[in-house]
Amino acid sequence: MSATPTLVARAGTWFHRYANPGRFLRLGARLQPWLTWPALLLTLIGLGWGLFFSPADWQQGDSVRIMYVHVPAAMLASAGYAGLAVCAMLSLVWRHPLADLAAVEIGPVGACITALCLATGSLWGKPMWGTWWVWDARLTSVLVLFFLYLGHIALIRAFDDPQRGYRAAAILALAGAVDLPVIKFSVQWWNTLHQPDSITLTGAPTMSSSMLWPLALSTLGFSLGFAAIVLARTRAAVMESRIRSLLSSPRRRADAAPGEAA
């Protein structure tokens, strides 16, 4: 150990301030309503707008309304996996205990949203393209993402010693992160049946603003909802781990709730 703390060590200290379960539970309880209610409101407004008030597309007709579910789900499928990769980094390098608990909880939620993305994509593809499924680069890379999620869910629960499961799953999460740029750029690198992105960082969106607004609202709503569900599940997981440690050593309550000195 060197005398002056390195940047890595200092970053670790900062992350570990939130490793204290008591502090996390207090912060989480305060944050929860600010995620849950805006998520519900924005999603309902976005989807209601998309379903009833946004215009039909000139070539796709009313089927374009599937976009307001499919696009947020697709964005969150990737973003959720990116979150998993960040947790993996925190876990492998700084041994952050909360990152492990969060990774356990992000997995199933991310898998559900990826399944929703694939299913709505299929439901959109059948009437528009004329097929439920094709093996083009975009669809296949998202399917790979779905299997990565399933692998992560299985691996993190596969060991009797949870620490080994956390390590193995973290390695899988980091290795699988190479799929994220492949998903993003697949529509540019290769000929695909899937159309390129309408919303890019560089150009104007090739979408009417009357469709962009409901899409933006539902995307924001879905994202907040994803965060709210992951936060609620992680809070529950922290409480469950405290319950377990209380049950295993009922007399040593101090161990279950380490003080602010950590």
């Binding site: 150990m1 060197s2 390195t6 890595v8 060590a9 670790g12 215009p55 039909a56 597309d57 000139w58 070539q59 796709q60 007709g61 374009v64 976009m67 980094m89 492998l92 390098v93 700084w94 009437p127 528009m128 393209w129 004329g130 097929t131 094709v134 093996w135 083009d136 680069a137 980091l174 290795a175 992160a177 190479v178 492949v182 690198w189 290769w190 000929n191 695909t192 049946l193 159309q195 390129p196 992105d197 309408s198 150009g203 104007a204 969106p205 090739t206 979408m207 009417s208 603003s209 009357s210 469709m211 962009l212």
Partner: protein
């Protein structure tokens, strides 16, 4: 170097190696990952008649001929990528989105007389536009869907259905209020 720093670099190195390996692999398989081949690729070197290929391109305006033999409709149309065109023959019901100027992917084999498709998929582009706006753009002569992609999105993506209806109602060919762009 502390243990944590070492771990960080180890993880970064592993991710970098993995990324490089994946990139190389994707590069190597690039030709297999493409979902379809273009008419100019087919024109340059026709695939053997027994190999199923997917041919992608735009349906040439005015090239669609439909006939009916008994119950099954037969369509014949040219598919182009701007450099070469291939004639496609398809027996069956075309997808709803099929039209002249639309991108399609035809699955089938290259025969002597042209491409014989067993399946035709419609490929829509990334442009999302209300019907009324599209009508207004067509009426004003700014865009004909049969001959290519719509004009730059900035000229219409803030145009509302009301604008479009107003433009259509006032007169067929007058310039649209929203066409000045904003």
């Amino acid at each position: 170097m502390t243990r944590k720093t070492r771990r960080l670099w180890l993880v970064i190195a592993c991710v970098a190696c993995l990324g490089a390996a994946a990139a190389l692999m994707l590069k190597a398989f690039s030709s297999d990952i493409v979902f379809f081949v273009t008419p100019s690729q087919v024109a340059a070197s026709a695939p053997p008649a027994d190999r199923t290929v997917r041919l992608g391109g735009m349906v040439v305006a005015g090239s669609v001929q439909r006939e009916k033999r008994g119950e099954t409709p037969i369509a014949r149309f040219d598919v182009t990528d701007g450099q070469a065109a291939v004639t496609v023959r398809y027996e069956g019901i075309l997808p709803d989105l099929f039209r002249e100027g639309q991108s399609v992917v035809a699955v089938g084999t290259m025969q002597k007389g042209g491409f014989v498709a067993s399946e035709v998929l419609a490929k829509h582009d990334e442009t999302y536009m209300p019907k009324e706006v599209a009508e207004a753009l067509k009426k004003s002569g700014k865009w004909d869907p049969r001959f290519g992609p719509p004009p730059s999105a900035t000229s219409w993506n803030s145009m509302t259905v009301q604008d479009a209806k107003k433009g259509l109602a006032s007169s067929g060919s007058a310039p649209l209020p929203a066409s000045t762009g904003n």
